[in-house]
Each structure stands twice: as structure tokens, then as C-alpha cells.
Amino acid sequence: MSEQRGYRTSSVRIAGDEDATRKTRRPATHAPSARSLDADGNGTRLTDARQRVAGSPATSAGRQNPAWTSTAESNTAATNNAETRVRIGRTSGEGSATFIGAAAASLGLVWVLFERVLPFSGVLGFWVGWYVLFVGLYYLMARLQWDRREAMDRLASVGFGTGGVVAFLIVVEQVSYIFMRGSSAVGHTNFWTRSLAFAGPESPMTVGGVLHAIVGSVEELGLATLFAVPLGITAALFLAEIGGGLARVVRTIVEAMTALPDLVAGLFIYVTLILSLGVGKSGFCAALAIGVTMMPIVARASELVLRIVPGALREASYALGSSQWRTVWNVVLPTARSGLATAVVLAMARGIGETAPVLLVAGYTKELNANPFSGPMTSLPLFIYNAVHVLGTNDYIERGFGAAFVLVVVVLALFTIARRIGGSAPGELTKRQRRRLAREAPRT
């Protein structure tokens, strides 16, 4: 029996999912429920499989089904009668050698092609050519050693791995490019301490800075958070704690609004406040526009967090005689605190980078305006837009990259904070909280 369990475990390990291993430590005869398998088209095939697994003789020879070891590296071991444990996730010598060999061969080939044979060159073309050649060569080399299925499997893993690597490279590339281009502008002290009030279109980098944009961004983001976070979290509480038909409608609307183009949020504020009510373009309008884009993000993320607060906690609170309001305030919200904070910080990271809504309603000024309720106000994204798209001289593009530097740093900081506080599940205590509880426990 224990041997058979080990067998099952190893077959599950092939899935590469360690959570599953824990889940399936049931008696080995407990095969996947036939009911669920019959629910869809593949019922017969999979039920067949179950019977075959269940009905296979318990001798070690019978268990050595070569089909399921084919994903494992140790194909040769299967011919031996002694049962060897299948280990997956370990790279074999042949596997890595094939990979490295294909990479090196294609690199050499594409270099020859680009530098000696073909009449064109280019960095992007070079790497695209390298990748195409690499995939082809890798498949060829895999095919020389393994059967078609195995080779396809390897090809697929390379393909999916590429997706991951590309996504990773894009992020690293963008952040480092902005840092590289922005570093020269950020080095000037006046960049941090001055506004553009006395800078003309031709002023060198030693004149003027982005102080006004930083102040504008901070104030607009603060006001937007004041507007979006209470409304968003209250709406999320409505969805999670009250529910009903109205909540379903609201949930649909919230989901539709998370995908609302940010430009439309700007147009909305422009139409209502500026065209209809006659309010002048100001930081306050911009904050409202940012708030409209932030609110659904906060609401949706908060609802997800509130939903995973264990129902037993709520019931315990009700059983102690507390009202719904007390339960939410003293039990639900504190339990979901870290998740809520993550939702808020991520929404702030989105909000500070919003350009399109601000573009329409904030106006643009070169001067420092600390009053969000009157007069135009510039924020960092708006500054970048004007410096690069409207003015577009070399020095202004440098300033734009400097502002982007600041923006990326702020976004990265907010993102890291969100990751830090969002690392734990609701109700899970951080080390510090646990220490504090331990300290306070004897006293109470």
C-alpha cells in the first residue's frame, strides 16, 4: 500500500504542482470522481484511465508503465525491474546540453547570416532571427534524441518560458531605460527645487525644474484618494456584506468601470464640472477625474478581500451579540486590513500615473500652484506630456525623462509597499503583530 501511494505521489509530481501532492494523499484507490469527468465530453476516455490505473496488477513490472515515465528524464531506468522513484523538475545532462547547444549554434549561425551573408542588419532583427533559429534547432536536436511527443513537450516549454522571459525583460528594460535617460536631469539640484516659471522654451537644464509638478501630483493624488478610497471601500462593503439584487447591478457596473478608458473619466469631469457647472480647470477637477478611475479599482479589489474573510469570524461576532455595524468595524475590516491596504496602494500607483484624465481637466501651468481649488495645476504625467509631445525640444525631453524617473520611483515605491503589506492572507498576523500579542497577553 505504501509503495502504491508513493507511486501515485510521483505521478502527481509530474504535474509540477506541490499543492496537489498534499491534496491527493488520499488512499490510492480513490481515483478522480467519475461524476465530474462524465460531466464533459472526455468522460469515457478518462474513466477508462481510472479503471486501467485501478486495475493494473500490483507487481512492480505492471507499474512500470513506460508511458508515464516518458516525461521524466530517467527513461532508461524504467527498463530495470527495480522501481526507481521518478524525479521531475531536475534537469538532466542531455536536456541542458541540448538547450545550450541549440542556443549557441543558433547564435553562431545568425551572426554569420547577419554579418556576412544577408544584406541587412539591426539589433531587433538579429534577436528575432536568433530566436527563430534557436527554436528550429532545438526541435531538431530534441527530435534526434527523443520521440515526437517528447520533442513537442520540450518545444512547448521553451515557448512558454519565452513568454515569461519576454515579460520580465520588458519590465526591466523599461525601468532601466527611464532611469538611464532620466538620471542626467535628476542630477541637477534645481530640477527638484524650482518650477518652470522662469524657464523659456530654450532654457538649459540648469534653469527650472519640476517642483510644481511634484506638488501637483501629491495634492491631486491625495484628494483623489480621499474621494476614491472611502467610496470604493464602502461600495465594496455593500457588495460583500449586504448583497442582493442591487448589489449584483452595482458589481456589474464596477467591473465595467474598471475597464473604463481613463480618457472617458476625464471627459466626464470635463463635461459635468467644467462645461455644465462652469468650474475652471483646476487640480481639484483633476483629482476628481483620477478618483473616478481609482474608485472601481479600489472597490473591486476590496470586495475580493472582504469575501475571503472567514464567515465563522462574522458568526462568532454575531453570537456574542454584536450588531452588524460592530461586526464590520471590529471584525471584518481589521481582518481584511492588509488586503484593503494593498488595494488602496495599488490604486494609488495607478492614480499617480494617470495622464489622459488630467490632460483634459487640470489645465497646464509652468508655475507652482499649491492651491488645488483655483487655477490650473500641473502633475508629473501632464508635465511629461507637455514637455515631450507639445514642446519637444531636446532639453524639455530631458526634463520629461527626469519627471518620468521621479514617477517610476514613486510607482515602484508604492508597488513595493503594496507587496509588503499584501503578503499575508486576511487574519494572518505579521511577526511584529504576533510579538505584540504575546507581549500583551499576560497583562489582559
Binding site: 467610496l231 449586504i242 475597464a259 473604463l260 480618457l263 472601481p296 494617470e354 511629461i384
Partner: protein
């Protein structure tokens, strides 16, 4: 005195057990609380309705001026000419979004599969963080990167594509073949927008893939399937609805993307052209961003009409996405789990 410590039965107690209602009446504070929550929900609804109502009200005059020509006219000079329409702007927007999707869907789905099926546990969380970060990077940063980093480097590739794949109508190059004519093309805008769509598609389809039933995965392995075979037989069919829904959400995002498109495109003519490698081309969002300050009431009404079309089209796309996701098997829990 001892008698007073044990209180006797209250007045009117008759010695029988009384039936107690198990539904508690909400207290006053609770009623206020529920009212506040309900008000917040209604406020959200109100904002959405107000967006629609105000956009419709303010753009009505433009629709009335342009009459039926609004959807069939390509030129857009609403200030001087009452003959204006979005027959070039809307297809341009759609074309950019389609280019973005053609790139983002394979990359996004591959990345999602990599994270959910292939990546070792130690790099799974960092990868998810990287994808989330990709979604958090402001669009203006993508725009800067696209304009100053990607554009100069992609032109050579564009040229190569035009020369060697020019037989495909989309890649045909009808202008004078100088490198300057490749600048500011819709293709480049589409590539930059695709980078913003990738994280949306990745994170949504990753969530769906990770819900694929464990029992069926094991069954596939038990039949001797390789990992790729298991993915093709179990994970992808299960996640199909999720992939479609994620792609449509990405489409909505791509249609509404403003700053990157505005930075990169250089509008030249009012003709819609499918030759995506040629410079020129425009989009609804770029048009609004470029001209909202310069125009009078008539022009602004026309721009708002554009905004309304954008709003309605993204709303349709997003609602369809929600329907597709909810009607597919994706996300449904199975008994095997």
C-alpha cells in the same frame, strides 16, 4: 440581602418557555450603517449613469449636425464643416487594438501558462509580481519608451517586413520607401499598446488556468500524456473562456489607450488605410487628446461624440467579455477538486 442578589423572574413571567424570534431586528445604528453602504453602492451606479447621460447630452448637438454622416464620413473638421465623421478614426482605433491583441494574446497566454504550469515555486511569486508591476507602470512611461527607445529600433524591422512580407496586404508599403515614412505608423503604436495589454491577459488567464481541475490533470498524466499534452487536453480547453474574456478585456483597454498612441502616431490624412507600416493613421483617443484645447463649442461637442462612441464600444466589449467568462466552464469548480 442575599435574596436581592438572585433576581426573581421579571414582571409578567408565567413560568413557560416563550418562543423567541431568531431574526434580530436591526438596531438603529445598524439601520444607519446599512443605509450608508447602500448609498455608496447607489453613488457608484449614479456616477456610471451620469457619465453616460452627460456625454449623450453634450454630444447630441454634434450628432444632429453631422446627421447620418457621422459614421460614414472619414474627415473630421467639425468646426468649419458640418460634414464630419469617425469613419477613419474608429477603424484606426480598432486596427491598433487588433495589432496589439495579435501580439499580446500569444505572449500573454504563454506567460500565464509558464507561470501556472512550468515555473518552479521559487520564481512563481516573483513572476506574478513582475506582471503586476507591468500593469502598474504608468502609460506615459510606456509612451516615452515607445517613442524614444522602441521606435528607432523597430524601423529596420518594419522595413524588412515591408520588403519580405509586402505581399500580405496589411504589410504592403505604398509610399516612397524611405525610412522616414515608417515613422509614426500604426504598427508601432500597436506594439506599444500590446505591452500594456499583456499584463491584463496574463493575470486573468493565469487565474483561470490555475483553476483547471486537478483530477483531470492527473487523469491526463495517467494516460501517459506529457506536460504539453496535458495542457492541450485539460488546461487550454478549460481555460478557453477565460482566454477569450481576458482578450476582450485587453481589447477594451487597447481601444481606450490614449497617451502612448498620441505620442507615437503622426496623423497625416483623413483616409483609413490598412497599410499599418506606413506613417500616418490616427485614433479616437489621439484625436481627443490633440485637439480638445483648440476647439470651440462645436468642436468640443464633436470630440465628446467621439468619446461617447469610445465609451459605448468599450462598454459593449467589456460586457461581452463578462458574459463569455461567466458562461464558459472556466472558473467553475468541479467535484474532483
Amino acid at each position: 440581602m442575599a435574596v436581592a442578589l438572585t433576581p426573581g423572574p421579571p414582571e409578567g413571567f408565567v413560568g413557560e418557555d416563550l418562543r423567541r424570534a431568531i431574526v434580530a431586528r436591526p438596531s438603529g445604528a445598524d439601520r444607519v450603517f446599512r443605509g450608508v453602504l447602500r448609498a455608496a453602492g447607489i453613488a457608484v451606479l449614479l456616477i456610471a449613469v451620469l457619465i453616460l447621460v452627460f456625454l449623450v447630452l453634450r454630444s447630441l448637438s454634434a450628432f444632429r449636425r453631422a446627421e447620418s454622416g457621422f459614421f460614414t464620413t472619414t474627415s473630421f473638421f467639425p468646426e468649419t464643416n458640418s460634414h464630419f465623421g469617425i469613419a477613419a478614426l474608429l477603424p484606426d482605433s480598432a486596427l491598433i487594438a487588433v495589432i496589439a491583441l495579435v501580439i499580446a494574446v500569444p505572449v500573454g497566454v504563454a506567460t500565464a501558462l509558464f507561470i501556472s504550469e512550468y515555473a518552479p515555486h521559487s520564481i512563481r511569486r516573483p513572476m506574478i509580481a513582475v506582471i503586476d508591476l507591468m500593469a502598474a507602470i504608468p502609460s506615459v512611461v510606456y509612451a516615452l519608451w515607445g517613442l524614444f527607445f522602441l521606435m528607432p529600433r523597430i524601423l529596420g524591422f518594419d522595413e524588412w517586413l515591408a520588403h519580405h512580407a509586402g505581399f500580405i496586404p496589411v504589410f504592403r508599403f505604398t509610399k516612397t520607401d524611405t525610412i522616414g515614412n515608417y515613422v509614426g505608423a500604426m504598427f508601432i503604436a500597436g506594439v506599444v499598446v500590446s505591452l500594456m495589454v499583456i499584463p491584463i491577459i496574463t493575470s486573468l488567464s493565469r487565474q483561470v488556468f490555475s483553476q483547471a481541475p486537478q483530477g483531470e490533470r492527473e487523469a491526463a498524466y495517467a494516460l501517459g500524456s506529457t506536460r504539453w499534452g496535458m495542457i492541450r487536453a485539460v488546461v487550454l480547453p478549460f481555460g478557453r473562456g477565460g482566454i477569450i474574456g481576458a482578450s476582450m478585456l485587453g481589447l477594451g483597454r487597447a481601444l481606450g489607450e490614449t497617451i502612448a498612441v498620441t505620442f507615437i502616431l503622426t496623423p497625416l490624412t483623413w483616409m483609413f488605410s490598412v497599410h499599418v507600416l506606413e506613417g500616418g493613421g490616427n485614433s479616437i483617443t489621439a484625436e481627443i487628446a490633440n485637439y480638445y484645447t483648440q476647439w470651440d463649442t462645436k468642436g468640443v461637442a464633436a470630440l465628446l461624440a467621439c468619446g461617447l462612441v469610445l465609451f459605448v464600444s468599450t462598454l459593449i466589449v467589456n460586457t461581452l467579455a463578462a458574459v463569455v467568462i461567466s458562461r464558459s466552464r472556466s472558473g467553475a469548480l468541479t467535484a474532483a477538486d
